[in-house]
């Protein structure tokens, strides 16, 4: 696994955890005269980094000009009363896109992480149980998993959402989304774990443990599941970006987090308007953040130099 991509993922996770402190402004804080304002370029001279505040020239035509007679620092050092500093521009409600991306990281990555852990735990336990027990349990777990894999999930989600009350508190929304994602995620993991457990159970160390009188639980947890660790690590790296994308998709179509909760999906829904997308492409910044996560996790799966054995020499 690539150490650099692991580092990138770690940085993203830290950013997500610290987002309320890192974001220059609140997730819903609006600047009325900066609707669709473009990113403010950062300049550097002997006095350090600075920007020029934006002036609204024409609200309807979305034209802004930099006030070059004034200088402001970066958003973290400039009080908002002096001038808002929008490094990634503003969305259609005049909200700082950078702050929205940072605040959104928490919901999007947090949910993806919870769902990934839940899927790994549920998939591992059920897969190992099916592999070790065999018979009816095995068939039941695998068939239920198959059923969930082939269900058209978007329709299922729409149906589930329609059956729930119109307004759900945030913990309930998070729980519902996590449960849906776990239900989506565990079957493939269970199937992989089941296969590994079936093979591993025929290995000598497992047979010896059974012969020595070890309980089934001990055999599974000490002798069979450890063999799945590599597989589970790979699955985790695949699930995290998958769930980040799933959250973005569901929130984008209005089935995920409500608009009041900043997430990458809800932030992206601002870009659904083609006019906004062409006139304010910076509102696609959450898509770039998602791209980074997907890229980092995909690179994670590539072997690092240390993993590749040097060519043998004679």
């Amino acid at each position: 696994m690539s150490r650099r991509s692991l580092r990138l993922l770690g940085i993203l996770a830290v950013i997500a955890a610290l987002s309320p402190w890192l974001a220059p402004y609140g997730a819903v804080q609006r600047f009325d005269d900066l609707l669709f304002a473009p990113p403010m370029p950062v300049h550097v001279d002997g006095g350090g980094l600075y920007t020029h505040p934006l002036r609204l020239l024409d609200r309807l035509e979305l034209r802004f000009g930099a006030d070059t007679t004034r200088r402001t620092g970066l958003p973290w050092t400039t009080p908002v009363e002096v001038a808002p500093v929008l490094l990634l521009g503003a969305d259609g409600l005049g909200r700082d896109v950078l702050s929205r991306v940072l605040h959104g990281a928490r919901a999007s990555l947090g949910l993806a992480l919870i769902a990934t852990i839940g899927s790994l735990v549920a998939g591992s336990l059920l897969g190992a149980w099916a592999g070790a027990a065999g018979g009816l349990v095995e068939r039941a777990v695998l068939r239920v998993g198959d059923l969930l894999i082939v269900l058209p999930m978007l329709y299922v989600i729409v149906a589930i959402r329609a059956a729930l009350p119109l307004v759900l508190p945030l913990p309930a929304v998070t729980t519902v989304l996590a449960v849906i994602f776990i239900a989506l995620g565990w079957p493939r993991i269970a199937r992989g774990v089941w296969a590994i457990v079936r093979i591993e159970a025929q290995e000598e160390h497992a047979l010896a443990a059974v012969a020595a009188g070890a309980t089934r639980w001990r055999v599974v947890t000490r002798h069979l599941l450890p063999a799945c660790s590599g597989y589970l690590a790979v699955q985790a790296a695949l699930l995290v970006p998958g769930f980040v994308l799933a959250e973005a998709t569901l929130s984008y179509v209005g089935l995920g987090f409500p608009d009041s909760v900043p997430s990458w999906g809800t932030a992206l829904s601002e870009s659904a308007n083609v006019g906004a997308m062409t006139r304010a492409p910076w509102t696609l910044a959450p898509a770039a953040a998602i791209f980074l996560v997907v890229l980092a996790t995909n690179l994670l799966l590539e072997p690092s130099d240390a993993d590749v054995p040097p060519p043998s020499t004679r």
Binding site: L60, L62, L93, V167, D259, N273, G275, A276, T278
Partner: protein
């Protein structure tokens, strides 16, 4: 793939993304020189939905209305640009002093598109068909006066006498609601009681006959509707040239407004179904500067977005929040909490005028500039909430009632409507600043309307489109028994004293034939509305339409369809873009 070979891939992705952004950004199209109006050519427009029928008596959806505007004719029509009534198939009319009898004279020598003569019998046939119980026409209520149908007699082939059961202020303006159908083609359907199924979307175009400027040439479901010039259309331009100017009119079915705008920008279509969104204005202006489009301001929309609470007493009898949420004081508090200038700036990027009632300045004749207003005053709003017993009883930002219930309600909006979504966000923030929490729930149109009709909602914020600027033609909205009395639909008897008073005023206003008296009575209606505030209004957008560089002679109106209402005078220059 090793790490060294990854760079070209990443570079390729970045180049592809940049290329995509360049591609979707409007490109410059050289301006074409203006030329004189000439007959010929094909204009391509857009429809956002399939027509449910080609029979206006059977369907009220906008696509059906557009198709029938193009293919059918009316006795008189409301000019969408001036909002005034003008002669159409009837060239003149006289009215009795009591306003009960109107005698219309048809133009001489009119012919249906199949060559059959158009006579007063067709008009009488259509009005009778509208009121035929087997037809169950969606237009029936719009041709009634106080619930009684109008009567029609035909002394001769060119004379139609319309008799009202009671005096009716708008007079024959109500005939703008109905297109005249060919008796010789549909008589058998009426006799069989199957008119409501006649002229459905699967009807072969050759069977459709009309008095409109175009005839249906082909309908490809999900793709396009093509119209050809009606060679027997009656109208001529000022120089005596027969109308319509166009040989063909094609309406592409483009369900999504984003797709419609892209099609306009790329030149695939020449006109859109309706106005530009405020967000699209900047891109359109940029293209206009490059010669690729023309943008016109049409005027102020007569239909501002409306916010209203559910005011069915049966709903609030079971919900303790009703003790404050269903009160006038609560609505007034919320109304005082809105800064309408800021609302217009945020929601419509400044292209809107603040409004305080359902009649906007876009309704030229009936707008009352002196309507009592609720000034933006958060302190007053908070004081009104205190009067209702709402106070912050815990550590959060929101108020609670004496029972500890949070001052919170759910606001339903149409999903995918950028303006409404942004407006709802501004309202939510404004009201949260006085301690009232709002949960915004975007719903599909059908789901929202179902909840509205069933009374299953706290509050709704949406766009209500009136069919005619004359208030007597909107009695469904004003009367407590009306099907569009959105806050409490279809009451058997008025639920409140002020609704009873409003019913009385609206009935008198509709019955009055003296224009000055009608204006005075409608101001009284607006005053009662403003005092009791069943619905809240914030801003009416200024409307802009954009047309492609080939289009000439458009006369946009503020009501839908902004351009196609006068399709017979639309013209194009140059070749149609290849599809």
């Amino acid at each position: 793939m090793n790490r060294h070979s990854r760079f070209p891939l990443v570079a390729l992705i970045v180049v592809a993304l940049l290329g995509y952004l360049w591609w979707i950004t409007p490109s410059a199209i050289p301006p074409r020189p203006a030329t004189a109006l000439a007959r010929g050519g094909t204009l391509t427009g857009a429809l956002r939905a399939e027509p449910r029928s080609f029979n206006r008596l059977a369907s009220r959806d906008l696509s059906t209305e557009v198709v029938t505007l193009l293919t059918q004719g009316k006795l008189v029509r409301v000019n969408r640009a001036t909002q005034e009534l003008e002669p159409w198939l009837a060239e003149r009319w006289t009215s009795s002093p009591d306003g009960l009898v109107h005698t219309l004279t048809l133009r001489d020598g009119l012919q249906w598109s199949d060559g059959a003569p158009f006579t007063s019998a067709d008009a009488a046939f259509t009005i009778a068909a509208v009121f035929d119980p087997n037809t169950k026409s969606v237009l029936a209520s719009s041709l009634e006066v106080d619930g009684a149908p109008i009567g029609v007699t035909t002394p001769d082939a060119r004379t139609v006498v319309v008799t009202f059961p009671r005096p009716f202020g708008p007079g024959i303006r109500l005939l703008d609601n109905v297109v005249i159908l060919p008796k010789h083609r549909l008589e058998s359907a009426v006799a069989a009681g199957t008119l409501s199924q006649a002229w459905g979307p699967t009807t072969p175009p050759a069977e459709l006959v009309g008095m409109g400027p175009f005839v249906l040439a082909s309908y490809e479901p999900g793709q396009r509707i093509t119209f050809a010039r009606n060679p027997r259309y009656w109208r001529r331009d000022d120089t005596g040239q027969p109308l319509p100017y166009l040989d063909r009119l094609v309406l592409e079915i483009v369900p999504d407004q984003n797709g419609e705008l892209l099609a306009l920008q790329s030149g695939r279509i020449d006109i859109t179904q309706q106005q530009l969104r405020a967000d699209d204005y900047a891109a359109a202006r940029e293209m206009e500067r490059a010669g690729g489009l023309r943008v016109q301001e049409v005027g102020v929309s007569p239909d501002p977005d409306v916010f209203f609470f559910n005011q069915r007493q049966t709903v609030w009898a079971k919900d303790p929040r009703g003790s404050w949420m269903a009160t006038e004081t609560f609505r007034k508090a919320l109304n005082h909490a809105i800064d309408r200038e800021a609302y217009a700036n945020t929601v419509f990027l400044g292209a809107a005028v603040p409004v305080h009632g359902p009649v906007s300045p876009g309704n030229k004749k009936w707008f009352w500039p002196d309507l009592p207003r609720y000034a933006f005053d958060r302190e007053k709003a908070s004081a009104l909430l205190t009067e209702l017993g709402l106070a912050n009883r815990d550590a959060d930002a929101f108020l609670e009632d004496a029972g500890g219930r949070e001052a919170r309600f759910t606001m339903l909006i149409f999903k995918g409507n950028t303006g409404l979504e942004r407006g709802a966000q501004v309202l939510k923030e404004s009201w949260e600043r006085i301690g009232v929490a709002v949960d915004i729930v975007p719903l599909e149109t059908g789901a929202l309307v179902e909840r509205m009709l069933g009374g299953a909602f706290d509050a709704i914020f949406f766009n209500y489109v009136a069919t005619d600027p004359d208030p007597a033609m909107q009695r469904d909205f004003w009367l407590s028994s009306g099907s569009a009395h959105i806050w409490n639909i279809g009451q058997k008897t008025p639920a409140t004293a002020w609704e009873r008073e409003m019913d009385d005023l609206v009935a008198r206003q509709a019955a009055a034939v003296d224009p000055a008296e009608r204006v005075r009575l409608f101001r009284d209606v607006q005053r009662v509305f403003s005092e009791h505030l069943p619905a809240l209004y914030f801003a009416a957008p200024r409307l802009f339409v954009a047309v492609g560089p080939r289009v000439r002679n458009e006369t946009p109106g503020v009501t839908r369809p902004q351009l196609l209402w006068s399709a017979d005078t639309l013209a194009v220059v140059g070749d149609a873009p290849a599809r």
